[in-house]
């Protein structure tokens, strides 16, 4: 398979248009299944009661916020190294969805924190580093759009994305490195302490958010391609 063929904006535009509806459909199907598992099948938590069900969006949103940032930084690194237009466009396309999931993680975390910890917000290492991630996303979006020449914006924003990767292990290991109010991970590669229905609900929601992120990034990337390639013959012939 020739990957250079798919790195052409014209080819990718058509491919993304075909793939995006499937990702949105998968997001909807797994989202419905996840909500069913989370609200109907999963039992009430013995300590936290019903309010623990916030985790079915809080944890997947937090995972997605970090994973999307990592992918965005990878695209940024590819665009800087190989000077590829499409990688820079994909990095731009991922950023708003990543920022949205970071906001959702912080917002839902505060509405989980109030009944369990007694406060909406605390300057705890995990929460503060997640807030820094939101600022990194917003900084990336602002920097990418701050230049008249979009290619200069791409390079500056890619550099910021790569530097910001240092924040990801800080978020992940913050609960181990510092004495935080935020609890440690309930799910790891070694196993889980959760009820199987709770785990399935969380994993299904994580898959749903993942599918949604890919679908949204593909749609946004198509818009960026249209804007940038608007003088190209293939765009004029198509629209």
């Amino acid at each position: 398979m020739n990957f250079y063929y798919f790195s052409s904006p014209a080819t990718f535009y058509r491919l993304a248009g075909t793939m995006a509806p499937f990702f949105f459909a998968a997001a909807l199907a797994t989202g419905i299944a996840g909500l069913y598992m989370g609200f109907v099948v999963a039992p009430t938590d013995a300590q936290q009661g019903e309010v623990y069900r916030v985790i079915f969006i809080h944890v997947p949103a937090a995972w997605m916020s970090m994973f999307a940032y990592f992918v965005m930084a990878c695209y940024g690194a590819i665009s800087l190294t190989f000077n590829t237009r499409l990688a820079a466009m994909m990095a731009r396309a991922i950023a708003p969805t990543g920022a949205m999931f970071t906001f959702v993680a912080l917002w839902t975390g505060s509405f989980w924190g109030r009944p369990t910890w007694g406060t909406y917000w605390v300057w705890d290492a995990r929460i503060t580093s997640e807030l820094v991630l939101l600022f990194l996303y917003l900084g990336f979006i602002a920097l990418a759009n701050a230049f008249e020449d979009p290619r200069r914006g791409d390079r500056a924003a890619a550099l910021l994305a790569i530097i910001g990767v240092v924040n990801l292990p800080i978020i992940y290991f913050s609960v181990q490195w510092w004495n935080t109010l935020h609890q440690g991970s309930s799910v790891s590669f070694k196993g889980t302490s959760m009820h199987v229905a709770m785990l399935w609900a969380m994993l299904l929601m994580a898959i749903s958010f993942w599918m949604y992120t890919i679908g949204a990034a593909l749609v946004r990337c198509r818009t960026i391609i249209l804007e940038r390639e608007r003088r190209a013959q293939w765009v004029r012939a198509m629209t």
Binding site: V54, I57, E227, T239
Partner: protein, 46 residues
């Protein structure tokens, strides 16, 4: 406060955020298409 408040505020806000992004995606696409149309009209006038 009742646990329903915290659940609604969490799930409701997430649904709103997702809906807002979908609207923004559609608006962005419409803007890009309008831009192409405008450029084409300008070129036709020239």
């Amino acid at each position: 406060m009742d646990h329903q408040f915290y659940l609604w505020m969490s799930y409701g806000a997430t649904a709103l955020a997702l809906a807002a992004e979908m609207v923004a995606l559609r608006a962005g696409r419409a803007r890009a298409r309008r831009l192409i149309e405008e450029e084409r009209d300008l070129e036709a006038q020239d």
